[in-house]
Symmetry: C2
Subunit: 340 residues, 2 copies
Amino acid sequence: MTREPKTPTAPPGAGRVSRPTMRDVAALAGVGIKTVSRVVNGERHVSEETRQAVERAIAQLRFRRNAGAASLRQGQTSTIGLIVEDIGEPIQSNIARGVERIAHDAGTLLLTASSSDDEERERALTLSLISRRVDGLIIVPSPFDHGFLRDEADAGLPIVFADRPPVGLAADVVLADNRGGARTGTQHLIEDGHRRIAFIGDPEDVYTGAERLTGYRDALANAGLPYDPGLVFLGAPDIARCDAAVTKALAGTWPATALFTGNSLNTLATLRAPSFQRSDLAHVAFDDFELADLLRRPLTVVAQDPAAMGESAAQLVFDRLGGLEGPARTVVLPTTLIAR
Amino acid sequence: MTREPKTPTAPPGAGRVSRPTMRDVAALAGVGIKTVSRVVNGERHVSEETRQAVERAIAQLRFRRNAGAASLRQGQTSTIGLIVEDIGEPIQSNIARGVERIAHDAGTLLLTASSSDDEERERALTLSLISRRVDGLIIVPSPFDHGFLRDEADAGLPIVFADRPPVGLAADVVLADNRGGARTGTQHLIEDGHRRIAFIGDPEDVYTGAERLTGYRDALANAGLPYDPGLVFLGAPDIARCDAAVTKALAGTWPATALFTGNSLNTLATLRAPSFQRSDLAHVAFDDFELADLLRRPLTVVAQDPAAMGESAAQLVFDRLGGLEGPARTVVLPTTLIAR
DNA sequence: CTGTTAGCGCATTCAG
DNA sequence: CTGAATGCGCTAACAG
């Protein structure tokens, strides 16, 4: 060894050995530290001879460049942050997949975190990512105020929201065409001759819920059908509520003959509701499922493309990083009706 | 401003402003830099008065500590790396969810990446994570040699493999009870009176495939039933192959009356195979699905718990980080038979 | 309770 | 083509 042992405070974790640095490599190869840096970063202007000497030393010492130190010097981390509500949820993990795809092509790694739809937690995670100096941030926002990010955005940190727009902040957003998708799905039922179509979905304070309800109303209006609030059921996606909703929709003098469910959880709850299973309601749902084609009654759906949403959001981050100026952009991604 | 403008090389990304540092805060608050550090890190031995002054300066400057610089100094990043094959795949995103849960409790963030089951890519991603000095590494390994990680493991980096063990390296692993699960599932069919049970699964060079096939054979042997290779179909999970497999299983003088599918993709392909749909084969599958209870024929499954797998793997990482010594451990997580 | 000094590992001047 | 010095922002040591 050329250098005296470091280890001022031995880390608690077992026998972690201090890693070799460029200085160690330089010493072993008999060159200057900058030359090692050149080799490591693949810069030119290094003679083949010295390059090989350096590479030999790197291999021998098992040197691996400390990316954190480089970031400190260079001012960029080649990392972007992604905050979702729950990475275990299919739509969001596919958003992550899309983001990752673009990020990887840009030589960038992904720091991911789940907010659990908790305001404090989302804020803390966001600040933690900023503290780590991510080059950009993609957020599937909880329905809380995001004004605390204004300073960062103004300071030039690219922040893109996905799936739903932020409250209290003008920023780039990538959305599915929730309204258009719901309109198309409802229209599909109308074209099949239905005139009384129930709607089961999220409360209106959920962005996607409100948009999809609007799309449903659009379709009714376009067809000259009346909007009947008695056929609309908004709330928690549990079986009991959906069961009650279906029961009500089927009651009265002019019962529903069809049903549009506004999101995956409400769809699942409805599919499991006894009153629905007993009924012969026509059914279209927002969001696709793996086995939707194999159900007792194959399910027609309005599908979105979460991976494309992630890709689009990531692309926007890198565009901003690349110098794209201008006001906040909103990208709306199409949905697809899959008739089954 | 107290300091002269930095910005030796203006970053390309738009008007990124240089961020305030502890020095700026210290100057504004009229204290030493170390005092700022104390306040930021919540250390004690700071008078209420100066603390408030510092906090005022922090708020005014919108200072956010650079975690990268701190890591460089402290030798730990409070980050762990997770490499899966595809984060968009339900099992793996749930592993990620579990890992995240434990990591969050430990104040640690997650750097995630998908290998796409590509050897070079997985290796490159792994090295990239090591380069970023993650405190630990969790890998859902591709079926390639992981000997290149031996040095890192020896140097004290906690590396835990999940879902499948690594090749060419002795390391901590967390697995589902593939063999036991397949045995239980097959046994369930035997108890229902079936004597001719077909098996459709992955090739034997896929670890989980081999384990599950062994579990299937265990169950047959336990029941004194002969193992008939003519009833076992291993290969790619496409509909054509599964259709042919079912057709063959149903042919001959002693046709199958039941079927065990060894993983989710083969299950899906089989469910969609015409010959299967025409048949009245009893069916048990490894891996659960969201809508499995709502199929035309409700599907009995052997379910694993990927989130628990992620939690377990992360816990192992933190145990090692906490000083746990000893040889590589293997944790086997139970599976659950869900009869439908 | 508070401040000063040094240096984590690297890349970036700017000389040789 | 190569190397020595400087500092990125922070915290560990060690004074006061």
